[in-house]
């Protein structure tokens, strides 16, 4: 069996007795784009630093191309020279933009002619050719980020690590960086591992997503898998599944199960047996509201009283009490058409297929 390009085996990182990374086993395949998502402080940056060999794990091993590179100064340096890393708050050295980009190549003892060609290529890639002779310290945040990306790409890494590439930027610069990244990802065979707390960015750029919460890698999978079928309530919460309802499978008819949630039965597709303790996960945008009882094919309709209404951008969040709390998201227009107001009575409807059922642990 051939190994993945990067593979970690049970890596753990402790700082002063506190476990920041807990027993992570991760495989990154050649050429793939993997986004690590998770809240701030989850350990994404530490994991990237471990993968880039900037720090050594407290325990566990890291393999690059099948070779263990966890220990050994020389070995780590050689492995590190096959990768590059754009830090979350990138710094540029107090020298010209071109000299900054040339650093990694000089340290690899590349020939002068090759260096100037690669620097030019990298500058073109990020669209900053005219900044070549500027002192890098005089650039704006977005430009600094672009130089850092060009500098990381100039060494033609086999693996590129990006830590929150757009987190500290204004929306316009962030969009530009993302466009550059999308172009790089589309045009090169570089393997990319990026950390982001911006779920939609992960979805836009990555082919695979890994969810890290509290130092644990909880789930990896395609963006579709992660967003529609989270394997854990913590993942569900992270990816914005606003309804996480605890219940027990009360009855079943082939694949259709009835989940007892506080005396109300929610119909869902599930393979769990009767008596199983489960969570029913329902995306608020899958819940529709109506003033009259719906007679469509949707399997679940509940009468509820509106307890709270709050606008979120172009949408409106509506919290209901249906005997259990239920969150729905509707457009402003439908909120107006339905004349939604606190204490009003409405019917909430969602399909049995919109309910994702996961087993409850504890």
């Amino acid at each position: 069996m051939s190994m993945a390009l990067i593979e970690t085996v049970n890596i753990t990182q402790k700082y002063g007795g506190q476990e920041i990374i807990k027993n992570i086993n991760l495989k990154v395949e050649q050429g793939e784009v993997l986004a690590l998502i998770g809240p701030t402080g989850a350990g994404k940056t530490t994991l990237l630093r471990l993968l880039d060999l900037l720090e050594a794990p407290s325990s566990g091993s890291i393999y690059l191309d099948g070779t263990e590179v966890t220990a050994g100064k020389r070995l780590r340096l050689q492995a590190r020279r096959r990768m590059s890393f754009v830090l979350q708050k990138p710094v540029v050295f107090n020298m010209s933009v071109a000299d900054n980009i040339a650093c990694g190549l000089k340290w690899r003892k590349e020939k002068e002619s090759a260096i100037s060609r690669r620097v030019q290529d990298a500058l073109e890639l990020v669209g900053m050719t005219e900044y070549s002779n500027r002192n890098a310290r005089t650039l704006s945040g977005g430009e600094t980020q672009l130089v850092a990306i060009a500098r990381a790409l100039a060494v033609v890494p086999e693996v590129l690590f990006l830590d929150e590439p757009t987190a500290n930027l204004d929306p316009v610069s962030a969009a530009r960086i993302e466009e550059v990244l999308a172009h790089i990802i589309g045009g090169q065979k570089t393997t990319v591992v990026m950390a982001t707390h911006d779920m939609s960015q992960g979805q836009r750029l990555a082919g695979r997503i890994g969810v890290i919460i509290n130092g644990e890698l909880l789930q990896t999978g395609s963006p579709g898998d992660i967003f529609s079928t989270p394997g854990d309530t913590r993942v569900a919460e992270l990816v914005g599944i606003g309804n996480i309802l605890g219940g027990v499978i009360a009855n079943r008819d082939n694949e259709l199960a009835g989940i007892d949630v506080g005396g109300n039965i929610i119909q869902a597709i599930s393979e769990h047996g009767i008596g199983a303790e489960v969570h029913a996960l329902i995306r608020p945008e899958d819940v529709t509201l109506a003033l009259h009882k719906d007679t469509s094919s949707a399997r679940n309709t509940f009468e509820g009283i509106i307890t709270r209404i709050s606008p979120v951008g172009a949408l409106v969040r509506v919290e209901l009490d249906c005997g259990f709390p239920l969150l729905a998201v509707v457009t402003r227009r439908s909120a107006r058409d339905l004349n939604l107001a606190v204490d009003n009575r409405v019917y909430a409807t969602f399909k049995a297929t919109a309910v994702h059922v996961i087993k409850r642990w504890n």
């Binding site: 900037l54 990694g104 690899r108």
Partner: protein, 228 residues
């Protein structure tokens, strides 16, 4: 009062006329302090890097000790070097007591903690992300140190200049181990102290002005560096 005024006028004349004795003393002072500063810099730059870039038990304590030695009394270093190099001392065999050589050694001992401490704090003041960036771009340990020194260059240079300033302005050490021998180990500071006690203010004032001028040049240089 007129005596002091007379002294000042004569002192200015001594400087303007490039009086051989004044120039010789000033030149010797500069040569000794430049030598000691250069040697101390050659010691402190690599040593500072080793201390800064490595993690070892007692690092914090070591840095505290170095900082405490910033204000090492010159006479204490003088006494220590004198005991070592005096004809009956353990290093007396070198026969360099009361020579410029032993003055240079003494000044190196005196200013090394100051230079070392300031170099370490200049390196510590650089963003941690600088070293991370260098390492992530494939720098070896040595290449990473070089780029960090480059980033900290103004702070490091300021440390070196401060060391030179302390060397050229100290008197206790030079007097004790140099002996203030005319034409051989007499420096600006030792000459000022001797001439003043003799009541010969002209020479003392002329040398004092030169010393202040040197201090001024150093300060202007430092300011320029810090404004960068």
């Amino acid at each position: 009062m007129t005596e002091i005024w007379q002294g000042l006028v004569t002192a200015v004349k001594l400087i303007i006329s490039l009086d051989p004795e004044v120039m010789q003393i000033a030149g010797r002072s500069l040569a000794i302090s430049a030598s000691s500063s250069t040697i101390a810099a050659l010691l402190c730059l690599p040593l500072g890097a080793v201390i800064h870039f490595n993690r070892f038990p007692g690092k914090r304590t070591l840095i505290n000790i170095i900082q405490t030695l910033f204000s090492l009394p010159t006479v204490a270093v003088g006494l220590f070097v004198f005991v070592l190099f005096s004809s009956v001392g353990p290093l007396g065999g070198f026969g360099i007591i009361f020579t410029p050589a032993v003055m240079v050694i003494g000044q190196v001992v005196l200013i090394t903690p100051l230079m070392l401490g300031l170099i370490i704090s200049a390196l510590s003041a650089t963003d941690k992300a600088v070293t991370d960036t260098a390492v992530s771009l494939g720098a070896s340990g040595f290449q990473m140190s070089v780029v960090t020194f480059r980033e900290a260059r103004f702070g490091v240079l300021a440390g070196l200049i401060m060391g030179f300033g302390r060397a050229i302005s100290e008197v206790g050490l030079s007097l004790m181990v140099g002996g203030n021998i005319r034409g051989f180990t007499r420096t600006i500071t030792t000459a000022i102290s001797l001439e003043t006690s003799k009541g010969d203010l002209e020479l003392a004032l002329a040398l004092g002005m030169i010393l202040i001028f040197i201090a001024l040049v150093i300060n202007i240089g430092l300011n320029r560096i810090q404004q960068r």
